[in-house]
Symmetry: C2
Subunit: 155 residues, 2 copies
């Protein structure tokens, strides 16, 4: 589902935007760091424990109630011919323990030295696992297609 | 609801992320350009007509069915002490004509020379009007508070 171009783009960008839906059916979006392991994407919950229980964060509450998520990764430039984005619709699960969570933290620490510095993997935080269910992609230059193979304007 | 700091931040950033919910209750998020007029925010629908009817864009279909939207404007930096975001929950309406739409296009063209170059205002496109209903804000440095007055970690 993710093409080599998608993977390259995901790995080069530094921030994504994770959209979820709350219990009232309202949209919610937050900037997130993410790392890719194979075809899966992982988003850490990096709230400091002193700020309250990180497991009560709204994005986690939302995902427990509705596992549908969308991760949007885009590149903005004042030269709009260089605009590009990738929309990943995904099924989310929350990992509290296990080997997959360890691998996710490894990938996050490799990608973000900031997480290494804070010792992310040792903080006993959950991580959001995103299993892509469909991918759409768009570039202003029209060189990429969406999952149906056609180039479209952003929706 | 928008503080002077919020307004300054919104006016300086160049891209936002608009989250909506589709008819199936799934989240949707797309990068958008926006302009502020007073306390309202406007997002153009800049699909080229040749690509199909811009009024059928998913974000418009979503908003007609569910007027709840969230516009997230954030700043990313590798120095995470400089991270900042503003979440604007809003009621969306779609303007097809009228003075408010003209003022929105004026503001968009002033803010983005790219829109001037393409003659946005002359393209007879609709514009999304976002009426903020609540605002939350966050900075890594902890200098800003949310609408309840407390500084929080991102959710």
């Amino acid at each position: 589902m993710l093409t080599p171009d998608d993977v390259d783009f995901l790995d080069r960008q530094r921030v994504g935007h994770l959209a979820t839906v709350n219990a009232e059916g309202q949209p919610h979006v937050v900037p997130v760091c993410y790392a890719r392991v194979g075809a899966w994407l992982y988003v850490p919950v990096d709230a400091k424990p002193k700020r309250g229980n990180p497991r009560s964060l709204k994005r986690l509450r939302n995902l427990r109630e509705r596992p549908d998520a969308m991760l949007l990764v885009d590149h903005y430039a004042e030269d709009w011919q260089r605009l590009r984005w990738l929309q990943v619709r995904a099924r989310a699960s929350i990992l509290e323990s296990g080997a997959e969570r360890v691998a996710a933290f490894d990938a996050l620490e490799r990608r973000y030295p900031q997480y290494q510095d804070m010792g992310l993997a040792g903080l006993e935080l959950p991580v959001i696992a995103l299993e892509p269910t469909s991918v759409r992609r768009w570039t202003a230059a029209g060189t990429a297609g969406d999952v149906q193979g056609a180039t479209r304007r952003p929706e």
